[in-house]
């Protein structure tokens, strides 16, 4: 498969109201990449995420998105909110809402979209939950539903915000395996903010470490050899 650049961040400064949290940031995400963004709380991970999603303009420099992503086709998996936990909606309603984005000016879903949604649900093993109520699912199942919605929104890139937060270890491993499968077999690029450094090192291909006003970006091996990696990921067995 031809690898193309999905996101390119060129000498970007990111932050709020002219106060940069990230400076001179350079990295790129190619199709098939698995990028994990790690770092302590308050080090700017969510700022970076917002900038990647286009909700925050860089103070200087630029973030160039591929043509396919620019039209709102971003597969985003946000952190769950409390209100969602008891939301009355069926799984298919949630999954189908992934097809809504800015570029489509239609008011209903097409047959093609419906069958694509079924296909994605099958891929993630939630097809039999199709007519179940979202609030009656387990945390791991809910996360799969949201992942499925993200797949409907975009076929090439998934952006995940701490996807395993609140999941039990088995459900978390299941989710990691699913992501690994999507990444390897379907060639979907993955950008994930995570606190789970062990699994980031295990599944990721590239690590972006957020420090205070400093950053490091490189492959897992380069990261482990760097001062950040030695301090942060030292206990890898």
């Amino acid at each position: 498969m031809e690898r193309k650049t999905l996101i390119q961040c060129r000498d970007a400064s990111l932050g709020y109201e002219g106060q940069p949290i990230w400076e001179h940031l350079n990295f790129s995400v190619m199709s098939g990449d698995y990028l994990c963004i790690v770092g302590e709380n308050g080090s700017g991970k969510s700022t970076l995420l917002k900038s990647l999603l286009g909700l925050l303009k860089p103070i200087s420099g630029e973030i160039v998105m591929d043509e396919s992503l620019r039209r709102g086709a971003i597969g985003y998996l946000p952190q769950q909110t409390r209100a969602q936990k008891d939301f009355p909606a069926t799984v298919s309603e949630v999954v189908l809402s992934g097809f809504l984005n800015a570029r489509k000016r239609r008011f209903f879903y097409s047959g093609a979209e419906k069958s694509q949604a079924l296909m994605h649900m099958g891929k993630l093993g939630i097809l039999e939950l199709k007519d179940k109520c979202y609030r009656e699912l387990s945390g791991g199942q809910q996360q799969r539903v949201l992942l499925c919605r993200a797949l409907c929104a975009a076929g090439e890139l998934l952006i995940l915000d701490e996807p395993v937060t609140g999941l039990d270890p088995t459900a978390a491993q299941d989710l990691y395996r699913t992501l690994h499968y999507l990444n390897k077999s379907e060639g979907i690029a993955i950008v994930m903010v995570t606190h789970d450094i062990q699994n980031a090192l295990r599944y990721g291909t590239t690590i972006l470490h957020a420090g205070h006003r400093q950053w490091f970006c490189g492959s897992v091996e380069e990261y482990l050899a760097s001062p950040y990696g030695k301090r942060f990921g030292g206990e890898r067995v």
């Binding site: 999603l53 286009g54 909700l55 039209r71 709102g72 086709a73 971003i74 985003y76 946000p78 909110t81 209100a83 969602q84 939301f87 009355p88 909606a89 069926t90 309603e93 949630v94 189908l96 809402s97 809504l100 984005n101 800015a102 570029r103 008011f107 209903f108 879903y109 179940k132 109520c133 009656e136 949201l146 919605r149 993200a150 929104a153 952006i159």
Partner: protein, 272 residues
Amino acid sequence: MTLLLQMFSYPFILRAFVVGILVSLCAALLGVSLVLKRYSMIGDGLSHVSFGALAIAMACGWAPLPVSIPVVIVAALCLLRMTERSRMGADAAIAVTSASALAIGVVVTSLTTGMTTDVDSYMFGSILAMERGDVVLSVALCAAVLVLFVLYYHKLFAITFDESFSRATGVKVEWYNTLLSILTALTIVLGMRMMGAMLISSLVIFPALTAMRLFKSFRSVVICAGTLSVVCFCIGLTASYLISTPVGATVVLVDLAAFLLACAVKPLLRGR
């Protein structure tokens, strides 16, 4: 039965039925979104703001609706902004706004006309308050809410379910939220003259809560809330005519009965 037929021979009851049915339909549809977004108390706050505006309008001898509609819309937009941005806490902001508006209204009326039956009818509603202009306005409002709901049903679902995802995919979340708050403000102003400032918010909250207990999909919750709201209103209005009780309170009691019934029925449904 003759009593019922006789009831419809009064034009003011007919007007109350038309306005009430349309307003309760709109309130229920908007209510589903508001309750799920955890904005239930906004209706309460807005009705008190509306009461304050009405009191000032009466004191100055202005027409009530042209004054209160813009004031309440501005209040709705401010409350929505506050819930989105500030760290002060949405519930505190709404509580402060509604108490202040109520206080302003009470002070202004006691300084000018004194606490008359007019004030009482604004607090607890009156069936006589419906005028021809109200009928026209509520038909227009109801049409707007229904069109919005049918055309933007899926977008509204997506925004209600997950604002950050919608924003990331480029949906103009702010625009829809603004629209939602303007429509809510209009519904409150129209409905409050019949239901009363103290009771109108129940029209927003009850049907949505009851429907959420009974149904599992968003579509059925919306349809059920709308139907339930209209049915409860009709029963409440008829009952209030038959046993001569205030309309607002009677409708709320019917809504409460429906809610309790739903709570009782739910375990049976689950057992199936």
